[in-house]
C-alpha cells in the first residue's frame, strides 16, 4: 500500500511538473503565433456565452495561447461582477422608486414636476372616492340601516332593494352591501388611442363580467364583455327590465330605454348610437348625484369597451388564458402579438391579407383567427402563422367562401368556426377536415 501511495504521489509530481512547464512555455509564446485577437464585442459575447459552439472553440483555442486576451477576460470578469458603491446603490434605489413616473428621471430642479405629480396622484384617487361616497349615500338612502319599523315617507319614493337602478347592477355587488373602496374608475377610463386593454384591466373586466352574470339576465346580455375577450366587437347593452313598482322618474327612464333600445343583433356593433341606458340617464334629471356618478362610471366602462374597438377600428383582441399573451388582428391580415399584457406589440408575419373578424386562443401558444372571404389561420407556437384551408362545403355553388363571424378553439387541433349565415363547422385535426355541425 505504501508503494501505491508513493507511486501516486510521484505521478502527481510529474503531472504538476508537466503542467508548470506548459504554463511557462505558453507565457513565452510569441503573440504572432496566436492569430488575430478578437475585438471587444466578441470578447463580450464570449463572456455572456452568446457565441456559437464553433466560435467558442475557435476563440478558446486563441485564448489558451494569448496572454493578452486572457488578461482582458479576467479583468472583464472582475468588472462585470464588481459590487456597486453605496452611492450607486442609492442611485439605483431612486431609479426604482421613480420607475412608474418616467418624467421624474432625476434631474435637479424638477421639484415642481414632483409636486405636480403628487397633486395628480391625489386627484386620480379623488374621482373614485367621490363615486364610492355617492354609492354609499344612495345605499343608505334606499335602505337606511337605523330604520327597523314601518316604511317612512322617504322610502316610498325609492326603488325597492330587489330592483336595482338601471346601470347599477354591474357595480353594486349584492353579497357585499358595504362597498369597499377600489380603484375601479381609473381602470375604466378610456385608454388613449392605440393602447389596448392590459392584462390587469382584462382581469378587472372579467370581474365585472362575473358580477354582471350574477345579476338579472338582461344585465348579462347588457355586458357582453365575454365577447370582447373572445375577440368579437362589442354590442351595446340592452336596457334592464323596468322594476315592477318603480318610481315615476325611473319608470320614465326605463320606458325610454325600452323604447329606444337598438334592435341590432348581438354581433352587430352599433358604435354610432350611445347605449340606451345612457339616454335614459339623460332624461331623468332628478336622479340623485349618486345615481349620476354611478351612471357616469357605467358610461365610462361602456365607453372604454367601445374604445377598444374605436381606438383601432376593425381590430380584434384575443387574450390567451394567462392574460399576458395577447393577439391583435385587424384589417388586411394584420396580426400583432403582445407577451406583456399589451404594453408592447410585435408585428407577426401573416399568411393572408383578408380582414380578420374573430379569434380564439385556448392556450398561450395557440391562436385561431378567422376573417372575411373564408380566411382562416392558426399559430401553434405563438409565433408562426399558417393558413388553414376552409371547409369545402361552405363555399356553396358560387365558389365563393363566406365571411367567418366567430371561432371557438379548444385546442390546437380542435376548433369550431361560425359563418355569417350562422353555419358552424368543426375540425378536430387542425383544419384538415371539417364537419358541418
Amino acid at each position: 500500500m505504501n508503494e501505491n501511495k508513493n507511486n501516486e504521489s510521484r505521478a502527481r509530481l510529474h503531472e504538476e511538473a508537466l503542467a508548470r512547464r506548459v504554463g511557462k512555455a505558453l507565457d513565452r509564446l510569441l503573440p504572432a503565433g496566436t492569430g488575430e485577437c478578437p475585438d471587444a464585442e466578441l470578447i463580450a459575447a464570449y463572456q455572456e456565452r452568446a457565441l456559437q459552439p464553433d466560435e467558442i472553440s475557435q476563440w478558446e483555442n486563441h485564448f489558451a495561447d494569448c496572454s493578452r486576451c486572457r488578461k482582458i477576460l479576467a479583468v472583464l470578469a472582475a468588472s462585470v461582477d464588481a459590487p456597486l458603491s453605496e452611492k450607486e446603490v442609492a442611485r439605483l434605489g431612486e431609479l426604482v422608486g421613480v420607475a412608474e413616473r418616467p418624467s421624474l428621471v432625476e434631474m435637479p430642479g424638477k421639484a415642481k414636476q414632483i409636486r405636480r405629480n403628487r397633486f395628480d396622484w391625489r386627484v386620480r384617487w379623488l374621482a373614485p372616492a367621490l363615486g364610492i361616497a355617492a354609492v354609499l349615500a344612495l345605499w343608505f338612502a334606499v335602505r337606511p340601516p337605523w330604520h327597523t319599523a314601518g316604511p317612512s315617507e322617504n322610502l316610498i319614493a325609492q326603488a325597492r332593494k330587489s330592483e336595482p337602478l338601471p346601470g347599477t347592477d354591474a357595480l353594486i355587488p349584492k353579497e357585499h352591501p358595504v362597498l369597499e373602496p377600489r380603484p375601479a374608475a381609473p381602470a375604466l377610463t378610456p385608454p388613449p388611442a392605440n393602447r389596448i386593454v392590459s392584462g390587469k384591466e382584462t382581469d378587472e373586466l372579467k370581474t365585472e363580467i362575473a358580477r354582471a352574470e350574477a345579476a338579472p339576465e338582461n344585465a348579462k346580455k347588457g355586458l357582453a364583455n365575454s365577447d370582447l375577450l373572445n375577440g368579437k366587437p362589442l354590442a351595446p347593452p340592452p336596457p334592464a327590465p323596468p322594476p315592477a313598482a318603480a318610481t315615476p322618474q325611473f319608470q320614465a327612464a326605463d320606458e325610454l330605454a325600452n323604447r329606444n333600445a337598438p334592435g341590432a343583433a348581438p354581433d352587430s356593433p352599433a358604435r354610432d348610437k350611445p347605449p340606451a341606458r345612457e339616454r335614459a340617464d339623460e332624461i331623468a334629471p332628478s336622479a340623485t348625484g349618486a345615481a349620476a356618478a354611478i351612471s357616469k362610471s357605467t358610461r365610462s366602462m361602456q365607453t372604454f369597451s367601445s374604445a377598444l374597438n374605436t381606438a383601432n377600428l376593425g381590430e380584434i383582441l384575443i387574450a390567451a388564458p394567462s392574460g399576458k399573451i395577447l393577439w391583435r388582428a385587424g384589417k388586411a391580415g394584420k396580426i400583432q402579438r403582445s407577451v406583456d399584457a399589451g404594453r408592447t406589440w410585435i408585428l407577426q408575419a401573416s399568411p393572408l391579407t383578408q380582414d380578420w373578424t374573430a379569434g380564439s386562443a385556448p392556450v398561450d401558444t395557440v391562436c385561431w383567427l378567422v376573417g372575411r372571404n373564408g380566411a382562416i389561420a392558426r399559430t401553434a407556437d405563438g409565433e408562426h402563422w399558417a393558413q388553414i384551408v376552409p371547409p369545402v362545403q361552405a363555399s356553396g355553388g358560387a365558389s365563393q367562401l363566406p365571411d367567418w363571424a366567430g371561432v371557438t378553439a379548444a385546442r390546437a387541433q380542435d376548433a369550431t368556426i361560425t359563418s355569417s349565415d350562422q353555419k358552424r363547422y368543426r375540425t378536430q385535426d387542425g383544419g384538415q377536415t371539417w364537419q358541418l355541425q
Binding site: 472553440s57 486572457r70 472583464l76 472582475a78 458603491s85
Partner: protein, 321 residues
Amino acid sequence: MPQVPALASHAAFSAQHSQLIEILYVEAKCARWELPQDSFAEALRRSADKRFRNAQAGHLEIEAYLKSLRVADLGLACACAAGCETAWEFFVAEFRSELRSAARAILRASGQSGDARAEELADSLHAELYGVRTTGTGPRKSLFEYFHGRSKLSTWLHAVLAQRHVDLLRTNAKIVSLETEPESDAPGLSAARANPAPPDPDREMYLSRLGRALSEALAGLPARERLMLACYYTDQLTLAEIGRTLREHESTISRQLDRTRRALRESVVAILRRGWAARDGRPAEPGLDEAQIERAFEYALEDWPFDLSRSLSQTESPGKR
C-alpha cells in the same frame, strides 16, 4: 432555402429580410430615437456580414442570427452613432455610472485604485463614443459603429474599457528577462540540486522526446482545458478568478484542472511509449520503455528548456488553429 452570399448589398439584404427587419425594428423601439428603419437595416446587415464573413450562410441561418441579436441595444447604439441627442442623453443617464463602476473594478483588479482615476478612465470613452471627426468637415466616426448587437451594450463597454486598460498596462510594464527571473522550484528540484546525479549522456534525448510528446499532447487537449492550464499556470490566477472568467464554479475548475493534468501526463506517456515513425527526412524514433519514461519524467522535474512555439511547428498532431 437558397444559399445567399453573406456579403449581400444593402438593398438585397433589406429585400430578402424585409419582414424580419420590420419586426426587429418594432422590437428595438427605434422609433423613440427617430432612427430610420433603413439605418437600422444597414446595422443588421453589417452585423450579419461580420458574423458570416467568408462563409456561406443560408437565409434561415442569417435570420436565426439576426433574431439572437440585442436589437434594443443595437438600436440605441445606431441612434447614438447617428447623432441623435435624445438617444445620447438616454445613454449617458443609463450607462455613465455603470461605466465608472466598471472602471473602478478594472483598476482594482490591476492593483490600482482611486475614484478620480476611474472617472478619467470611464470618461475617456465618452468622446470616442460620441464620435470624432477624422477630417475637419467630415462625418463623425463613433465607437458605437463597432457594436453589432452580439452582446449587451453594457458588457461591450466593459470589454472596451478592459481592453484599453490591459493594453496600457502591457505598454507600460517593465519587461523582465525570463532568463534572469528566478524559477520557482518544482517539487523535487531542491533535492535534485542538493544531490546532483551523475550526468546522463541520454538526458538531452529524453528531454527532447519529452518536449515533443508534451507539445503533441497539449495540441490534443480541448481548447477549454488548455485555456484553464494557461490561466492557472501562466497567468497565476486563483481558482476563483478562473471560475469567474470562464463562468464556472471554483470547484469545477479545480476538478477540471486535476483531470487535465492527469490526461496530459497519460497522453505524454502514451506518446513516449509509441515513439515516432520516420517523417520528413527524420529517422524513426522507437518508443521508450517504462524505466526510460520514468527517467524522462525525473528530468522534467529539473530545469528544462521547453519552447512551445518551436515545438508546435514540429508537432505531428492536427493543428489546433
